[in-house]
Symmetry: C2
Subunit: 341 residues, 2 copies
């Protein structure tokens, strides 16, 4: 059986209280008894029951994240790296990370109610905001500490702590870059419409076209699901329907990688026939052939920042400014091809 304070108390002849305080290092316990108790505790291999402590303290030293964890998401390096940043930083502050896998078949809000409402964590990190996000509404109205990767959709208020990249500007930069390289017909593969950042990226795309005096054509815009496969499918569909396209921007690197394959499947060359740009700058972007032009965002550091921010919120020392909007950075690589004259 597991060793408890009671066991040590019995063995040592002291009360549970004294044992607790001796082990807790309080100075109101006699040095001799402290030593005796500590020795016995070590001998018995005592480990405090963290659950009991959590109940008593009403705090878990754990932060939570509810995330897609199926096999399709295995390649989703944005999430993989974000989680590493979170877990790493949490660990530095002696916090653990509770991960609840979000199965497509399960109601996501149930998970939030269970984990957050059930006191399993001191706070949560919400990733990939939705338009009119019910998770945020729930956490806000229940005063559960949380921080968000991403902000609300345009037009909604973002009255919570978040870190986001200004992806509207990011997309504009990508379009400007392609225009500068001589492209007139630029396709766009968006994330699912219910995600908040999708609207920003679409706006950035339009901004870029506007600035260049190019027309916005709805038929050049398509939606993927952020995974590799859909990038390929959408790219192939775009190319087949609109042979005049010479460039495609995919709204995350994974879809961009898929798009590269789609380009090849159409018998075209990436960079030379069709330029490709992604978003995120996951490691694969610089290792793929040809290397992938993309919008960089510091994913690991965002995970770090979200975590320190969340710990601040938990300990009620949250800074006044709630949102942090990072500048995106265009990283030009081989998939841009050469400037056309």
């Amino acid at each position: 059986m597991r060793v408890t304070l009671k066991d040590i108390a019995e063995k040592s002849g002291y009360s549970i209280t004294t044992v607790s305080r001796a082990l807790g290092g309080f100075d109101d316990v006699n040095e001799g008894t402290r030593k005796r108790i500590v020795t016995i505790a070590d001998d018995m291999g005592y480990q405090p029951n963290l659950i009991a402590r959590q109940l008593r303290d009403r705090r878990t030293n754990t932060i939570g994240i509810i995330a897609p964890m199926n096999i399709e998401s295995a390649e989703d390096d944005f999430f993989n790296i974000l989680i590493k940043g979170i877990a790493h930083t949490a660990s530095l502050h002696r916090y653990d990370l509770l991960i609840s896998a979000q199965l497509p078949s399960h109601d996501e809000m149930d998970a939030y109610r269970r984990i957050a409402g059930g006191n399993r964590v001191d706070g949560l990190i919400v990733a990939r905001t939705y338009r009119d996000d019910p998770r945020i509404a729930y956490l806000s109205s229940n005063n559960i500490p949380f921080v968000v990767s991403g902000r609300s959709a345009p037009g909604e208020t973002s009255d919570f702590h978040y870190i986001d990249v200004d992806s509207q500007t990011g997309l504009r930069l990508a379009v400007e870059h392609f225009v500068d390289y001589g492209h007139q017909h630029i396709g766009l593969i968006l994330p699912p419409a219910h995600l908040a950042f999708t609207a920003y990226r679409l706006k950035g795309y339009q901004d870029g076209l506007d600035g260049a005096g190019l027309p916005f054509r709805e038929e050049y815009v398509t939606y993927g699901d952020l995974h590799r496969e859909s990038g390929q499918q959408q790219a192939e569909a775009l190319i087949q329907a609109h042979p005049e396209l010479t460039a495609i921007i995919a709204c995350n690197d994974l879809m961009a990688l898929g798009a590269m394959r789609g380009v090849r499947n159409c018998g075209l060359r990436v960079g030379e026939d069709i330029a490709i740009c992604g978003f995120d700058d996951i490691p694969a972007a610089q290792h793929v052939t040809p290397t992938l032009t993309t919008i960089y965002q510091p994913i690991f550091e965002i995970g770090e920042g979200l975590t320190t921010r969340l710990l601040n919120v938990i300990s009620q020392e949250a800074p006044i400014e709630k949102g942090i909007l990072l500048d995106p950075q265009l990283v030009i690589r081989e998939s841009s091809g050469k400037k056309r004259v």
Copy 2:
């Protein structure tokens, strides 16, 4: 404040016990009162305090894993995918996953004592066994449920539940494949020596050479740290020191990907001048150019299997046969180049 059974009891006029049983769906409570209580609970937004429940039930419905989670490990798709498999399967059984990041600066055993000894989880998954693994010794001697990805080093007993791939055979297959393709001088990049599977892979390499009547040359064998960088460095070092090498086997795909770059840095072509083989078959293996020959192991499924196994152990229904040894599978791709005559 947070709603408890007590609050509902007061509001409804029933006792805590009755409330508890009404909400628990027991049939020894009057249908009318049940309805009344449920309504009030819903109105008040009641969520059971899971921590209290865990303390009371002495069970957490959580499994744990202690894993490296720094930025260097971000690309470590073996772990990324394994964790997805674990979290996914856990979720299917209504279990959550507690991740504790293992910082290089922290004592790993402390984490095990804290998490496992501290009752935070019902069981643990141990990944990447060490030679003479203290984690396994600790968990075994404390009767804490656990399962292991990987088995003990050769010569040690593996008296615990594990799933492993027969990587000795895997390496032998890789060598035989390269020999068949006409290679006589095959370099090897091993994982760190303290990992248990390193010895198996080295033995498989030797088996392959023996079977082909080729001499084992210690100078063809080098050690990496499983990351991309070290694959590159070790490959470059091997090639420079031994220009007669025409093939290199790296013991995981990430190092193999690094090795591919190393080959190029030496002015050579992957596949044509130097054949490369990896181990794991992470997604990148089939997406890199040229595609990577490797030893396949079903990582996600291993995560699934480990988890169901662990849940069996936790509920005391563990099968008799403790270990599962999977057959490795050689996947030949472009990095093998063409058969030489």
